[in-house]
Each structure stands twice: as C-alpha cells, then as structure tokens.
C-alpha cells in the first residue's frame, strides 16, 4: 500500500501542496532561463502583444503539479511555476494538456481547432489570449525545441519521448 493511502484527506492535500511547491522551486531556474533566452531571440513577439505585454497569463497544463504564470513584459519578463491553489492574479487563463499547449506554442496544432474540440479552455481577457496566440504563431522554428535545447541532449531526448508518448496516446484514442 502506498504510504499516502494512510493519510486523511487533509493530510493528503498537505502532501500534494508540499510536492507542488517543491516542484515549483526545482523548476524555476530553468523557466527563468528559458523565457529570457526566447525573449532575446524573438523580440517581435513583444511588438505583436502591444499593450498586453503588461498582462499576466496563467497557463495551466493539467498534468503538471503546478501552473505557469507568464508576465511577457520585456522590461520585467517573468515565467514562474506557481502552486495552483496559490496562483497569483492573471488577466487570462489558458488550460489544456501539456503536450497540446506545447504543440500550440510551436504551431503544430491549430488553436481554434483545439478550442472547437474543447481540448483547450480559455477564460478571462480574450483579447490578451488572441494577441499571445498570434504573437507566438509568428515565431519561426520550434520554441519547444529551443527550450529543451537549454538542457542539451537530455532535454531534447525528454521532449522527443514526450512527443512520441503523446502521439501514440492520441492515435490510440482515435482507434478506440
């Protein structure tokens, strides 16, 4: 039996919360480095965001133990992992599976189609979401590959494995 099975609901929630906060601390240096690097390489993204550079976005990949909080202001660029139950204010919220969100960032999937299929949820300031989508869509190349490349060969291997698993699952879902 798993040790957490012995905990009461309050205890289990505490453990989940502690796990989430620990994950946030561990991943934060990587997120900060990745977002600065991508901001440096693709400054045109900020132009397309216009005044929405000052908006905050909560990106909620449902499988992750935390949410991601993006402030795309080039003067104070921030990309933080935050516990869901303590997420700071955001003008817009984008929710979906991790690999779907990654494919949308890389324009391997169409955002409108993901919205039509209900795989993607957006709420809050719709104009902010539309601007972010259009800004990212004008980026040439793969942001996911760039982010994975920060970790070198292991990062690229993890990304490739995630992609294979996601495609295999999607194929299985279609056959079911």
């Amino acid at each position: 039996m798993h040790w957490r099975a012995n905990l009461d609901p309050k205890g289990a929630k505490f453990v989940r919360g502690a796990g989430s906060r620990l994950s946030c601390v561990l991943i934060q240096p990587l997120l900060s480095y990745v977002v600065r690097r991508i901001g440096d390489r693709h400054p045109s993204v900020f132009a397309r965001l216009g005044s929405y550079k000052q908006s905050a976005f909560l990106i909620d990949a449902v499988e992750l133990p935390f949410a991601l909080h993006l402030c795309p202001d080039p003067k104070a660029l921030a990309f933080r992992a935050v516990p869901r139950d303590r997420a700071p204010h955001a003008e817009a919220r984008i929710r979906g599976r991790f690999m779907l969100l990654l494919e949308l960032v890389d324009s391997e999937r169409d955002g409108d189609a993901a919205f039509f299929s209900r795989d993607l949820d957006v709420s809050g300031d719709t104009e902010a979401v539309v601007r972010l989508r259009n800004a990212l869509d004008d980026v040439e190349g793969s942001i996911a590959e760039e982010a994975a490349g920060v970790l070198g060969a292991p990062g690229r291997a993890i990304l490739a494995r995630l992609r294979r698993a996601y495609k295999s699952e999607a194929k299985g879902g279609q056959q079911a």
Binding site: R48, L49, G50, Y52, L104, S107, E108, R109, D110, G111, D112, A113, F115, F116, S117, R118, D121, V122, S123, D125, T126, E127, V129, V130, R131, L132, R133, N134, A135, D137, D138, V139, E140
Partner: protein, 332 residues
C-alpha cells in the same frame, strides 16, 4: 481548363511563408488597421513586414494580394488611400476591395494595378459584377457563398472578369459587407472597423459542471454542453431561445465550415478561375494543413488523376463541414 489558382490566407509573415511553401499560388493579407476585414489583435502586417513578404512570395513565384476590403466611414478615406499607396509602392500584385470609393481611387491613381472585388461587396448578379468591371476595371470577383454551381456557371458566361470562390473555411451565409450584428451589440463594425466579434468583447465562462458559455458584450451567445464541440463566438452562430421555440436553436446559421474539396472538378468545369481558403485569423498549422491538402487535390484534378482529398474535419468550426449553397440551396 481553368488554372484553379489557390488563394491562401496569411495573418502573419510566418503564415505567409508557410502558405507559399505549402504551394499557394497567391497569398492574401492586410495591414494592422481597419482597412481589412480581419483587423484582429496581434494579427496582420506592418509595411516593413509586407515588403519582406512580397519579396519572399515573388522569389517563389507566388503573388501577394492586399485586402483593403472594408468600407471607410464617410469623409474618412485617408487611411484607405494611404494603405493603397503603401501597397502599390511595395509591389503587391493586386488589391482586394469592396468600397467603390476605394476602388475608384486605386483605378485612377494606379491604373495598371489589378483590382479584385472582395466578397464584402456582395456582388452576386451579372449586372452588379459588370458594374464594377466597367467602372473600376475589376479583373476578378470573389463570389458570395450563396450560389449553386449551375448559378456560378451561368454568371461566368455573362461577366468579363475572372471568378474566385471560397472552397474552405467560414460558411459565410450572411449578406457579406452588410451584416451589422456585431455593430448592434459592440458598437464596432465588421464592415468599417474590420472586426466581427471583437476579442475585447468576448468572454468564455467555464462552469463547474463542464459546460461553457460564450458571451459577446455581456450577452450570452451559446452554452456548450460538456464535451460538445464549440464554434466561434459570433452572433450569427449563436444558439437562442425564442417565444416560439422553447429549446435553444441556431436562429441564423450553425457552427460549421465550408469544405468544397469534392466539388473542385465541377467548380473548375464551371469556369472558376481561383479558389480561396478562408482563415487569416488561423494558425500556421491550419495554413500548412489546408493549403497542402488543396494543392494536392487541385494538382491531381489538373493532371487528370482522381483527387486525393485529405480529411480536414478536425480543423473545421464545430468539427462539422458542409458544401453549403454550392451543392444545394436546401442545405439546412
């Protein structure tokens, strides 16, 4: 045989390059202002971006068509004239226009420039189309999506210009260029500001039971059941209750996309010169998939092979597709 030119959408420079690389014969796009009917946040081109885009397209033997297809408010024509001047200076291959004043300015100032009549002009009769040809030298008409193929064939025989028809994307049954539904709720005009359901007025609300409501300017447009496929938050595709209908119903049209892939041979035979893919607001992924699919299909037909038609239903609105009025006036 009609050349079956493929006219493809681009909302960003990256989408334009994607469209060209996927086999577009021409790409249509607009500036970041009210001069075009897809004036959406973060979309469209700066003059510098358009200059680079024209150079890229021309290097690959593709054309760039600049959409100036909104209607200037009375007395406020400077923005449209300036956009035409910039487009001409940058070497675009044609302007897509709807307003007679804009058409007249371009015809007089740039007499060698090709003019295409936008679907926003809603010219659907030989008399209307001939008027634009005779007075402004229009070389191509983009037909409204309300005609059957026999009707298109008949029109072709009575007009002196090329015909372009939509083949994929928005179903577009409203009298285009005349729809005021968005303006009624938001105060912004589809036809003059280029915004149908401006994003700043759109709100999606996810409820605890998994349903999702869409609202425009505070008015509920639809509520999608848990797992039910969704559509764009436009009034024309809303689901409403009414005194005579207790159950919510699509009063104007349903969230569904046009897909004429299987009608391509008949459209070519009817004399349609060019095929338009709708979707400047869509992603590079959409552009790549749809343009590639129709490039293959058109090439197959022109080579006398059975057309290889890719399934594009995953990209359609509401994940449903129709041949609309092109197949029958009784599509509903």
């Amino acid at each position: 045989m009609s050349p079956g030119e493929l006219i493809c959408p681009a909302g960003t420079p990256a989408a334009l390059r994607t469209a060209v690389d996927a086999g577009a014969d021409a790409v249509y796009c607009g500036f970041q202002n009210a001069t075009n009917a897809r004036n959406f946040p973060g979309l469209n081109f700066t003059p510098d971006e358009l200059a680079s885009a024209v150079a890229y397209a021309h290097s690959k033997a593709a054309k760039v068509l600049l959409a100036l297809n909104t209607y200037p408010p009375a007395g406020k024509v400077d923005l449209w004239r300036s956009a035409a001047d910039t487009g001409a200076r940058l070497g675009v291959d044609a302007f897509i226009v709807a307003d007679m004043g804009v058409a007249d300015y371009i015809a007089r100032t740039y007499p060698d420039m090709r003019l295409h009549l936008s679907v926003q002009a809603a010219a659907s009769s030989p008399e209307a189309i001939r008027y634009y040809c005779e007075n402004f030298g229009v070389k191509r008409v983009v037909l409204p999506r309300i005609l059957t193929i026999p009707e298109i064939r008949a029109i072709r025989k009575e007009i002196p210009c090329e015909i372009e028809t939509f083949i994929f994307g928005n179903h577009g049954l409203m009298v285009e260029g005349r729809c005021s539904l968005t303006n009624y709720l938001t105060g912004q005009s589809t036809n003059m500001d280029g915004v149908c359901s401006p994003a700043s007025d759109v709100e999606f609300i996810r409820h605890g039971d998994g349903t999702m409501s869409s609202r425009l300017a505070g008015f509920s447009i639809d509520c999608f059941g848990c797992g039910e496929k969704a559509g764009y938050p436009t009034i024309c595709k809303g689901r409403y209750t009414a005194p005579h209908r207790s159950d919510p119903y699509y009063a104007f049209e349903e969230p569904v996309s046009l897909n004429l892939a299987r009608l391509l041979p008949e459209l070519i035979d009817a004399g349609v010169h060019a095929f338009k893919i709708e979707g400047r607001q869509r992603s590079k992924s959409y552009v790549r998939s749809v343009v590639s699919a129709f490039r293959t299909a058109v090439d197959d037909i022109r080579a006398g092979r059975p057309a290889n038609i890719t399934d594009l239903v995953a990209l359609t609105e509401g994940q449903k597709q129709t041949q609309g009025a092109f197949a029958s006036k009784k599509w509903r």
